[in-house]
Amino acid sequence: MTMIRVENLKKSFGPIEVLKDISTVIEEKEVVCVIGPSGSGKSTFLRCMNRLEDITGGHVYIEGTDITDPKVDINKVRQDVGMVFQQFNLFPHKSVLENITLAPMKLKKSDKKGITEKAYALLDKVGLREKANAYPGELSGGQKQRVAIARALAMDPKIMLFDEPTSALDPEMVGDVLDVMKQLAIEGMTMVIVTHEMGFAREVGDRVMFIDGGFIVEENIPAELFGNPQHDRTKAFLSKVL
């Protein structure tokens, strides 16, 4: 089943055209890693998937719903599309548990107790049950990011978007976060991950997408894209980062 369909997506910031013409299809349970030089538009591409950026042209379909249609209830669509940010963006005035339960409490009809139980289960999953009553300010970067993942999962999303989830972390914290993401991938979550972790992309990605200059230059299975890149720009980029 197709989860995300992108057709001729264009995005401009004022006179600057960041995404020029992007089309792709992401299937259920697929893990797509997006790589590319900084300023290539890969984060913007990701942020168009849940319309955090207004879309300038083209169409983005999430489970068949065209989110570029102004009549679409975008808040409803976003409940199915979890997002994890480079800077975590935890709510500093809420405890870890409240960070996770806030959105489900406000948006889901289910009972309060069930939501709290689910939050604890998610904290177990990311290995942070003992931090339930801590505040974000008391956590390390890696812990914050794992809470952020749990927070996104609490809405039972069908798709998870990751925007450079490990770029702001100390090196020794990166592994814990990648492990959680790897586990999610194994469980069959549909994931789009903008990342600089080439090793992770190669290991966990079903497909790697190389974006540069507002276009998808090349996309392929990791072994092919990393082992046998077709375009000069891909080769040039990989030679710098590998």
Partner: protein
């Protein structure tokens, strides 16, 4: 000393009026400030303009002129008649509201954009984001500035004596002229204002300690 003791019951009556006006006006002012701040930040041009004109008009004119305009000016139109206490409350509320709105706007804008993005990405709508994520954080940051403006507004209420409201200052003036002990009475008046404002600051720093640190 006798002068002070004899004057004190009258001054306390005045203090009650001052506090009554202050409390109502500051609550109204806060509501006005919040609404104007949201107007100012709304993605609707006309609301932005209304908010901006309101704030500029209040900031650009003296308090006493606003008071005269509302009490004498509006009453002279003959559509309604406002007593002086109401006019006083309305003036202090509107005046404080304009300044509060700028404080609240700055507070809201000081919250990192990522907070809104995180909230919206979870499916919260703009109102839920404002209510549960942005405003609670913004208020913690604003508290010291809000307190400051509340203190200024409390002191502004002393100007209401010029339209005959029997507030603390007005009672002081009466006592001063009746006793011919202007020095003692006005010194007492100052001490009373000082104590009230000191208590208000203490209350504010208590609230701050309780909520801001985290």
């Amino acid at each position: 000393m006798d002068t002070v003791i004899n004057a004190l019951p009258f001054l306390m009556d005045g203090l009650k009026v001052t506090l009554y006006i202050f409390v109502i006006a500051i609550i109204l002012g806060f509501i006005i400030g919040l609404i104007v701040a949201l107007f100012r930040l709304a993605p609707i041009k006309i609301l932005n303009w209304i908010a901006k004109i309101f704030v500029d008009a209040i900031r650009g004119t003296p308090f006493i002129v606003q008071l005269f305009f509302i009490y004498f000016g509006l009453n002279s139109l003959g559509f309604f008649s406002m007593d002086n206490t109401t006019a006083g409350i309305v003036t202090v509320a509107i005046n404080a509201g304009a300044y509060f709105s700028e404080i609240i706007r700055a507070g809201i804008q000081s919250i990192d954009k990522g907070q809104t993005e995180a909230a919206r990405s979870l499916g919260l709508n703009a109102t839920q984001n404002m209510r549960y994520i942005i405003l609670p954080q913004a208020f913690r940051r604003m508290l010291p500035t809000i307190t400051n403006q509340a203190i200024i507004s409390l002191k502004d209420t002393s100007l209401l004596s010029v339209i005959g409201i029997a507030d603390l200052t007005q009672e002081g003036r009466i006592q001063a002229s009746q006793t011919f002990e202007a020095f003692t009475i006005y010194l007492t008046l100052g001490v009373i204002y000082f104590i009230i404002i000191y208590l208000l600051s203490m209350l504010a720093s208590f609230v701050e300690r309780k909520f801001v640190l985290r």
